[in-house]
């Protein structure tokens, strides 16, 4: 009995050691980024792997340099606006489409849903050119609308919400139907509130993908005043390509909003991954 307890304890300690090592490995790039941001250029290109901490003081001015060179307030604003509108649009359209596919009967439902699935199966790059042409012809280049455009509807979100609606018991809707509730009323007041967890998952996925989207902002927003953090960072790579501390300071500032969002919505992030089975 005692040996079984000792074995369980040993396993627990071993598991924790492995987890600590894994967590350490995950955190090393972030620590490296922040420490490099505080070094001089000479220190940052030192090849000695044990040269981790700045030897000549902490150079906080790297943050000031990059903050002055690029208008981070504008970059934050553009990125947050893009994330906000993409999340709102994705949740709105996906929940309505998901309800229609999951609960309603209408002609062509299977064909239409097959089209949604096909959209999920092909690489996103295929849609870039037609989407770019649409945005360009509408005169929406260098606007927040242009940034939001590809995220207005989401095939993944539709599928996720359809699964969510299908998982709800039929009795609820039938009871509302007997009480004389219309289809929009049933959707709005009965069914939609019950898919809150799926909506939160979708919101989190949409926010993360919007935040790290590089290619689309690079194509549609070429002006410094309309671009996002990811594309702005890519531009900085040109300007500060050989100045690693400045680049790392910019990268640290760029990840800041997502870290704050994660800290606030940590529980929802974990639940979202658990609910949808997806990965960020």
């Amino acid at each position: 009995m005692k040996s079984a307890e000792a074995k369980a304890r040993r396993n627990k300690i071993l598991t924790q050691i492995v987890l600590i090592i894994m967590a350490f490995i995950m955190l090393v790039p972030f620590a490296w980024m922040i420490l490099t941001a505080l070094k001089t250029n000479q220190e940052s290109i030192s090849v000695n792997p044990f040269y981790i901490f700045p030897a000549n003081g902490w150079h906080w001015e790297n943050f000031a340099t990059v903050w002055k060179s690029y208008n981070f307030i504008i970059l934050y604003k553009n990125t947050l606006l893009m994330i906000f509108f993409r999340v709102v649009c994705a949740c709105l359209t996906a929940t309505m489409a998901g309800y229609a596919f999951g609960r309603l009967k209408f002609p062509g439902k299977k064909i239409l849903f097959t089209m949604v699935l096909i959209q999920m199966m092909v690489p996103a790059q295929i849609f870039i050119i037609p989407q770019y042409l649409m945005v360009s012809k509408m005169g929406m280049l260098n606007t927040t609308f242009g940034l939001v455009w590809p995220g207005i509807v989401t095939a993944f979100g539709t599928y996720l919400l359809k699964t969510g609606y299908e998982g709800l018991p039929m009795d609820l809707e039938e009871a509302a139907n007997i009480d004389g509730c219309s289809v929009p009323g049933r959707f709005l007041h009965i069914m939609m509130p019950l898919t809150k967890s799926s909506m939160v998952s979708l919101g989190i996925f949409t926010a993360v993908f919007a935040f790290k989207d590089l290619m689309w902002p690079m194509i549609v927003c070429t002006n410094a005043s309309t671009t996002t953090l990811s594309a702005g960072l890519a531009k900085m790579q040109g300007q500060y390509g050989s100045e690693y501390p400045t680049m790392m300071a910019a990268a640290t500032l760029a990840v800041l909003p997502m870290v704050i969002i994660y800290v606030i919505f940590q529980k929802q992030f974990v639940e979202g991954i658990a609910t949808s089975g997806g990965k960020l």
């Binding site: 790059q125 870039i128 050119i129 770019y132 042409l133 360009s136 012809k137 509408m138 005169g139 929406m140 280049l141 606007t143 609308f145 709005l188 590089l214 290619m215 690079m218 194509i219 070429t222 002006n223 594309a231 890519a234 531009k235 790579q237 040109g238 300007q239 390509g241 050989s242």
Partner: protein, 236 residues
Amino acid sequence: MKGLRERLGPWLETETEKMRGMTARQRFSYILTYYWLWILGIISVVSISGYMIYRAAFAVKDYWFYGMYVNTMENGGNGSPLWRDFVMYAGYDTSVKKVEMNASAWFDPSVRGGTNNSYYQAFVALVESGDLDVVVMGREGLQGIGSSGRLLDLKDPKCAAIAEKYADRIVTCIPYDTEYSEDPVPVGIDISDSLLVTKYHLYEDDCVLGISAYTQRPESAEVFLDFLFSEPQEAK
């Protein structure tokens, strides 16, 4: 339409009946309580549609010129000295059409995996959409793009004037598509001694200009080339 009218009529009558005995404040409160989502939806649709119509009607959509400078660490984008001088030289009115310069692209088609990034995908999207006019990069990289068929064959009648004017600077490549040609095809103009190197320092030495395969404005590429080989302060 008839069905909608049949449904809306009784609904309107019922709602009017309900609000008959109410004060204006109560009516407002009633409408806001029961129809806030509809009102929000209508406002959103109207404002988004209005904005889209406004942009489609009044935004500057077409380009005078769209150029991309690949693998440069200098600022050659919109508003840069290069951009300003070129607009002045060409005499383009940017309130009518745009002059776009993009110096935020890093890829190298001459090395294995050198195009495996978002910058290259963005470049391909701009080429295929027909918006991009010229691309400038190192000789080997440009030959790599040329081999993939994304650069205009300078034997094309569209750019006969350029090919003739810069015949001594032609850079060739062998296409991957052997059905198109097994012989070297002219795809670039060597601009290593142009203002791009001597004045704006976008490249240290080796750089070649290629014209996008689907460009709608080969004449703007010619204007740009003329600018690159003009005296710095010379006006057209």
